[in-house]
Symmetry: C2
Subunit: 490 residues, 2 copies
Amino acid sequence: MSAVAPPAVDPAAAEEMAQEAAAWCALHGLVVGDRANPRSATVPGVGLVHAPFSLLPARLPEHFWRQACELAPIFNELVDRVSLDGDFLQDSLSKTRQVDDFTSRLLEIHRKMMETNKKENIRLGLHRSDYMLDSETRSLLQIELNTISASFPGLGSLVSELHRTLINHYGHFLSLEPKRVPGNAASSKFAEALAKAWAEFNVDSAVVMMIIQPEERNMYDQYWLTKHLKITHGITTIRKTLSQVEAEGKVLPDGTLLVDNKQVAVVYYRAGYTPNDYPSEAEWSARLLIEQSSAVKCPSISYHLVGTKKIQQELAKPNVLERFLENKEDIAKLRKCFAGLWSLDDEEIIKTAIEKPELFVLKPQREGGGNNIYGLDLRETLTILQKEGGDARAAYILMQRIFPEASLAYLVRDGISHEGLVISELGIYGAYLRNKDKVVINDQCGYLMRTKVSSSDEGGVAAGFAVLDSLYLTDKVILHLSTFSAISFN
Amino acid sequence: MSAVAPPAVDPAAAEEMAQEAAAWCALHGLVVGDRANPRSATVPGVGLVHAPFSLLPARLPEHFWRQACELAPIFNELVDRVSLDGDFLQDSLSKTRQVDDFTSRLLEIHRKMMETNKKENIRLGLHRSDYMLDSETRSLLQIELNTISASFPGLGSLVSELHRTLINHYGHFLSLEPKRVPGNAASSKFAEALAKAWAEFNVDSAVVMMIIQPEERNMYDQYWLTKHLKITHGITTIRKTLSQVEAEGKVLPDGTLLVDNKQVAVVYYRAGYTPNDYPSEAEWSARLLIEQSSAVKCPSISYHLVGTKKIQQELAKPNVLERFLENKEDIAKLRKCFAGLWSLDDEEIIKTAIEKPELFVLKPQREGGGNNIYGLDLRETLTILQKEGGDARAAYILMQRIFPEASLAYLVRDGISHEGLVISELGIYGAYLRNKDKVVINDQCGYLMRTKVSSSDEGGVAAGFAVLDSLYLTDKVILHLSTFSAISFN
C-alpha cells in the first residue's frame, strides 16, 4: 500500500491543488479543532482547521481491497462469538490483568456481569480492522482490530469525496479517474447501525448517548454521525463524559438507563478506551452503571475485551479460531491476514527476536497505542525480560514486523503542503447488530486510509505526522510507481 | 423588522441550541477567518471560526418581504438604464469628484470609456438592495443599493438552512414552523448568473476571474460561489488581486483579457469598492485595463457609479426616475421605498436638520461605509459646513433617519451566546444579465439578513457587533413580540 506520488504534480501545481483542497475542507466540514487554540477542544465552532490530508489518494491493488472488505463480516461475527465465551476472555487475560491495571479493571466489570449472568440481547459492534500491505510477503496483514471508539468514520468519508473532487478537476493532468476512488459511506452506515440498534431497543422517546472525552479536538468527526442520526433517522444524540454519566445517571430496577432524565437506548463510546479516560473512580462507576443497564452498549465490556492485543494473539494460535467459527473458508481467510503473534512464554521466539530484532515489534499490552518497541530497544527489553523472568513478560505481545512500501506523496497540514516519503494503513469499518438470534446487520461499512511520514524519511517533515487519506484502486499487482523508486520501510 | 426574541428560550436551552448551531456551522461551511489567527485571511482552511449568527431568525411581516422582492427586478432594470446615460453620471457626480478623490478616479475611467465610445454589450449586475423597516412610518425604506461586491450570498444562504434546521429540532418548543423561513438560493443564483454571463461570452476555455483583496477573512463566502461555478456549471474561477492583474494581465488588440495567460470571460469584483483597495497606481491601472477589455465586468465602471450615494440621492429627486423608466407603477413602487435624501445645496433642509438632528443622518459620499454622523455631531458638522460654504458640502448627503424596531435576541459569536437588544437590516439580492437587446436574467436572488446590537443597548454586548441572520415571515402587520416589549431605536 503506497500513497500515490502524483506522476506529474510539480510543486506549484501541488500548491494550487492544496489551496483548493483546504478551502474544500472548510466548506464541507472536513475540520478538526486546532491545537493552537485552547478552546477548540471544548467549544464547538471555534478554532477550526482543515483536517490534515494527503493531496491524492493512496494506491492499492484492487484484489487487496476486495480481500479486506470480505474480511469485515467474518471479523464482525468472530467478535460476537468470542464475546459470548466469558471464560475464554477471563482465562486468556488472566496474566495480563496482573501487569496491567486497566485491563484488570475491565475484567472486573466483565466478571461482575458474568456473576449476575447478565446477557446482552441486542449487541452492536462498530469495529475497524486495520491492515498494512507487507512488501516482503506481498500480503495484507492485520495490525489490530478496534472494537471500541473506532475513530474517523465521519471525516474519512469526506476525504474520499475530496479526492474524487480533486481528481475531477485535475485528473486529466494526472491520468487519474475519480471512479477508482471507492465511495465511502462510513459516516452514514455507522449512523444507520446506531439507528437500527435504537429501533431494536424500541423506545421512541429514548436517545443515543455518545460517551465523549472532556476535551475532544476530533469532535466534528463525531458530529457527522450525530447529524446523520438526526436528519436521516430523527434520533437525538446527547453527549456526555463518563464523569457526567456518574453524576447524572441512574439505572432503574427494570434496567432502564436514565441520564439527565433522558432514557438512553444506545450508548456509543467515543471515550473509555484508554486508562486516561478513567482519572478517578467516578468514571469506573459510570462504566459499571452503563454495563448494568439494559441500554445497548457499543461496545459491551465483552466486545471491548475481544479487541485487546492479547486476544488478538490468542486467536492467532493454532486451533483457536476453530473454537468460534465453523466455516473453514472463513477461518482460512482470517488466518491469511494474521501476522505472526506471540506471547513471551515462547522462549524460542524470544531467542529469534533477540537475534533479529529488525523482524519484530514488541507491543505493550496496555491500550492507547504509540508505545511500540523496535530494533535495538526491542533487543534490550527482551534481554532484560528474559533475565528477570516472571509475570512482567505478560505485559507484552511480540509481533511480526510488517514492512509496508514507502512512496512519495504530498501531505497537507495547517495549510502547508509537504512532500515526503510516506506509508499507509488501511482500516475497514464493520458494523454488526444482533438481537438474540436475529442478525440485523453484518456489513463492511467503508474505510479509513491513514498515511504518515515514513520514519526513514529523515530529510522529510516531522515524524509522527499522519494524515487522513483515501484509496485509489489499481489493476496492477505491483505497487511501485513508474516515476518514482519505491523503497521498503516501516 | 425585529429579530425574533425566542418566546420560550431560557438561557440553558439557548446555550444548547447555540452549541448545536456552532457545530452545524463547522460541518456546513458557515465559517469565516478568525481575526485572532493572522494566517486566516490569506491561507485557506486555517484559523476558521463559525460566522457570527443570530440563534433564531428575525421576524418580518410577509407583505414587506413581498414588497422587497418585487423591487429587485425594478432596481436591476433601473441600474442598467442609468448606466447607459454617461452624461447623467458625469454631471451628477461633478461636484462629488472635487471633494472625493476615489469617486474622481472612478469618473476618470468612466470618462475615458465615454471618449473611446466603449460599449458593454454583455452587462452583468449582481446587486443587493438594503432596507430597514421604519417604525415611525411603518414602511420599508431603502438604505442603499450595492452594485459592486455585494457580500454574503454564499454564507447568507446557509444561515437560512441553519435556522430551518434549528426550528426543525426545537420548533415545537418555540411554536415556530421551518417553512416560514424562506428558502435562500443567493449562492447558487449568483453562480448561475455568472455562469450565464460566461456562456454569453461564449469562449469555452475562458475563466471567471474573481478580484479579491490581498487579505480576506470572508473568503469562504466567495469559495461557495466558486464551488457552484465548478460543480454545477463546470467553470473554473481564478482569484487575483488588482495588483496581480496589473502584473500578469494584458489586453490584446481585439479586446481579449489575458491574466496569467488565461482568457477571462467574466470579471467578478469582490474588491475595488473602497479607496483602500487602490493603495498605488498599479491597482488603478488594473481597473482601467479590465475596463478596456471585452471581458464582462461585474460591475462595469458605469454600474459601479450608479451605486454611489450621490446617484441614490439624485434618483430620489422629483422627475428623475421618469427619465429612466416608463412604467408608472414601477416608479411608484421605487419611490415608496425611498427615504428622504438631500444634497447640502438645500438650505431649507440644512436648517431643519440643525434644529432636529435626531431625524437625520449625515452620510459622507466616500464609499466604504461606517462613517455616518448622527445627533449633536450632525448639528455641529452642518453648522460648520453652513458657515464655510463652498464645495465641501458636496462631500455629504443628508438622509432621513430610519428608526427600526429593536427587540431581544440571542447573537452567537466565537462560540458564545449573548442576549441583547438588536435591530435588523434586510438585503435583497438581484441579478441582471443582458446581451444587447436580450435580457437573459432579471431576478430577485435570495436575501441577506444582518442583525446588530442596537446602539441603545448600553448594558448589552459590544457595540458594532453584527451577525448573519435569516427571516421568519409572519402574518401580522405588527412587529412586537407578545412576550417582550419592543422599543424603537436606531
